[in-house]
Symmetry: C2
Subunit: 152 residues, 2 copies
């Protein structure tokens, strides 16, 4: 019986944490605007790194690393805002699948965070091929999530 | 004569750096969207801190500090995007004064960065009155810049 109570208490605590995270958005509009702002910034800074990876701009380690660290920070921010009930309606491209299959969405979100951490590690080093490969892995992670959860 | 050449070279280097920063925005629309995204996120995370400062939410040091560090990071991002020529036209509240008086704008921008760094320092400590006071100083810095450079 003790084990059951422990489980219940654990669930209650986790629910409380998640609940308070969601409560940060008073309206679904705010949640939508929030995640769109984060995603736009991620896109901009991914673009700055892409220019260096593709040789359109000369590679500059300090600059690349700064962008990678920033995107890593940004990549941790928006997931709560996607999971807010009702935020699949309105000015959004988010598919309802996010709310219907939260675990799968959270897995995809976690994947981006993991790949971004690896990119920061690579960018701290000087192996440009490794950086390029890991940048590709990040892009794949973005695409994988967008394919599943973003309408065109 | 040598001193003059040194000065010219210095100016050219500085202009080059600034130029390349501006070049990150292919279109003025992107610069406008970029700064609006950053400002929206700053507003959201300032709001989360304000709720704790005003006692609407219980003060939680870890949570407050995380928000302060994030806003400090965000506060360093948008200034280039405001200074892009022509970006005072379009879907923006930015006054042309920003482009007409760049030094004054940069001073106000620097002021926010300075006050945010102080808030992070305070939030690392446990003096809630000091945190409150410094949060007020940050708010003043926001207001000062908005009053001068943002139309209503």
């Amino acid at each position: 019986m003790k084990a059951i109570w422990k489980t219940i208490v654990c669930f209650a605590i986790v629910a409380g944490i998640i609940g308070s995270a969601y409560a940060q958005f008073a309206r679904t509009d705010d949640a939508i605007k929030y995640r769109q702002a984060v995603m736009f910034l991620i896109g901009q800074h991914m673009g700055r790194m892409a220019a260096m990876v593709k040789g359109k701009q000369p590679y500059n380690q300090k600059n690349f690393l700064r962008n990678a660290v920033l995107v890593e920070t940004l990549s941790k921010l928006p997931w709560d805002s996607f999971l807010l009930a009702g935020s699949d309606k309105g000015q959004t491209k988010m598919k309802s699948e996010v709310l219907e299959n939260k675990e799968k969405f959270e897995e995809a979100a976690q994947n981006l965070e993991t790949e971004m951490a690896k990119l920061v590690s690579a960018a701290n080093g000087s192996d440009f091929n490794a950086i390029k490969a890991q940048f590709g892995a990040v892009g794949k992670s973005c695409k994988n999530c967008h394919d599943q959860f973003r309408s065109r």
